[in-house]
């Protein structure tokens, strides 16, 4: 059934590209955040925040790409469910995994495109700012995104209608960004919040990306990798039970 997978993936890519707001939201916003904040903080990619954490703007932008991908996934899945598109696709020989897998694949693909745009923007506006093993960083971002997407699947299982998908998704996903350790260290949080932060995929994604950015190997961040994998496994298991096709 691989033919079906690639055909569906290709169709979803084209359909996504035809919706200007979606493209701007997932690809434009992270670049905009990066460039604008970069300007504000005097062309330095790293900014000292009052909490003495060094804010890494490219990682913030990358996190926005990942979270944006999950939000977009939630919107698409709920709209497709409400419109009976998921049900119609399920009434074909396509397996349920293929149908949802194609959407995940498309999101990961656009995550890479987003990152490429980010790198180009970086080279354009802040020469010399991005000096990192891009392959390794891309892989870290993809793993982080996959894990955050699995949270997206849980969210799309619980939101009642497509109308609520965007607000509920935003309320659940965006607060993960300030808790990710980008703005202030996780250690400085009260115990309760620290535990919450450590359960969030965003925290581990930031930890891993930050580590790769600073030149550390994957081995040094196996805890973050494990965290991302655990979130992915747990969320996938929950989705398998809770996912609604209609």
């Amino acid at each position: 059934m691989m033919t079906g997978f690639w055909k569906l993936t290709w169709v979803e890519i084209k359909v996504f590209m035809r919706e200007p707001m979606g493209v701007i939201g997932t690809l434009g916003i992270p670049v905009l955040i990066y460039v604008m904040l970069g300007r504000v903080f005097r062309d330095r990619p790293r900014v000292d925040t009052p909490q003495t954490v060094t804010l890494n703007l490219p990682i913030l932008a990358a996190l926005f790409i990942a979270v944006g991908a999950a939000l977009s996934l939630v919107a698409i899945i709920t709209i497709y469910r409400e419109g009976g598109i998921l049900k119609r696709l399920r009434a074909t020989p396509l397996s349920p995994l293929t149908i949802l897998g194609a959407h995940v694949f498309v999101k990961l693909l656009f995550t890479v495109v987003g990152l490429i745009l980010l790198v180009f923007a970086g080279r354009q506006f802040f020469p010399g700012a991005i000096d990192v093993n891009l392959w390794s960083f891309t892989l870290a971002l993809l793993l982080g995104t996959l894990s955050i997407l699995s949270v997206g699947f849980v969210i799309s299982s619980i939101v009642p209608t497509a109308r609520f998908a965007q607000p509920i998704g935003s309320v659940l996903l965006y607060p993960m960004i300030p808790l990710s350790g980008l703005f202030f260290p996780i250690e400085s949080l009260p115990t309760g919040w620290r535990i919450v932060a450590n359960m969030l995929p965003t925290t581990h994604a930031v930890g891993l990306m930050q580590g790769i950015w600073d030149g550390a190997g994957w081995g040094a961040h196996w805890g973050n990798v494990l965290g991302l994998v655990v979130v992915f496994v747990v969320c996938s298991a929950v989705s398998t039970k809770a996912f609604r096709w209609e």
């Binding site: 169709v11 049900k87 009434a91």
Partner: protein, 305 residues
């Protein structure tokens, strides 16, 4: 006797505390158009979706083309074609892209250009789904249901919301499918559609089948009465008719006579009586019962109430 294409026995399905299907048993034979008719919420769609393998049921047995839809859903999907009620596709998918995608999902596919042409969609092949009219969307869904030349076609409320012209075009198409030996299982709450299109119908109400048969059989069984209404300026018409026809249910209202009777010969007898008595008739029509009347008789309400 060939095995039926679809066999449903004692089907039961609940959603929480709501019983959607209480007790449905039916068989559909190869090469017939079978219609499940009933009001919205009667259990038509749930029954159909259990048969299509899209829904698990609580009790009973279902077999389609010798397969169990619960266990062999994927194998079944290759051999059946479905159209869902009020379905959509991706807003910005083009007609040809949808056709192309569906073509990739099945082992064997018909000549899709000819199919689009037959459904009058050739001009729309580059149009986005969201720009299609209701009728065009429905025709596209019919195309997707037929693309792999399935043995059984399931159509759920196919012509709801279409104008009469589009409806007739689709009826013709469905007749064509049946004429090629395929089996069609459809649901509708339009009695005219059921009467014109279906070889056999089953009436469903509150999740139970209450009657099954050909439309003609059902009318004869439950509504055998025939009516003749005619106008005449003549004198003593009512007495003459009552004497000759031996019936007493002749009513007269402002020179318009209404006669009620039963049997296939009733209308002929009335015409004969009119001719024999040389009654001068200025208007004449028959009132024959239809499925709508059968439904009213069986359920006590109209289907759209």
């Amino acid at each position: 006797m060939i095995d039926p294409v679809i066999r449903v026995s004692r089907l039961r399905k609940r959603y929480g505390s709501t019983v959607a299907v209480a007790d449905v048993s039916l068989v559909v034979h190869q090469g017939e158009i079978f219609g499940l008719i009933g009001p919205n919420g009667a259990g038509k769609t749930t029954t159909m979706e259990c048969v299509e393998g899209l829904r698990k049921w609580d009790e009973g047995d279902v077999s389609v083309l010798g397969l169990d839809p619960r266990k062999d859903a994927r194998a079944l999907q290759e051999r059946i074609g479905v159209q869902h009620q009020e379905a959509h596709l991706q807003k910005r998918i083009k007609v040809w892209e949808a056709i192309d995608l569906w073509s990739a999902l099945y082992p064997g596919v018909v000549d899709t250009e000819a199919l689009l042409d037959q459904l009058g969609l050739t001009e729309k092949r580059n149009a986005w789904f969201m720009t299609l009219s209701g009728g065009q969307k429905q025709r596209l869904f019919v195309a997707l249901a037929l693309i792999h030349d399935p043995e059984v076609v399931f159509l759920d409320e196919l012509t709801t919301g279409l104008d009469p012209q589009a409806r007739r075009a689709i009826w013709q198409l469905i007749n064509g499918i049946r004429d090629r030996g395929k089996t069609v299982f459809l649901t509708t709450h339009l009695m005219e559609e059921a009467e014109r299109l279906c070889d056999r119908v089953a009436i469903i109400e509150h999740g139970r089948l209450i009657e099954t048969g050909t439309p003609k059989e059902l009318v004869q069984r439950h509504c055998p009465q025939r009516g003749v209404v005619f106008s005449s300026e003549g004198e003593g018409v009512q007495d003459k008719l009552e004497r000759i026809l031996g019936i007493d249910n002749v009513t007269c209202d402002e020179k318009t006579y209404t006669l009620q009777g039963t049997g296939d010969d009733f209308v002929t007898n009335v015409i004969h009586a009119i001719a024999t008595e040389e009654i001068h008739v200025t208007g004449f029509r028959t009132e024959l019962p239809n499925l709508e009347d059968v439904f009213l008789k069986l359920t006590g309400h109209r289907i759209r109430d």
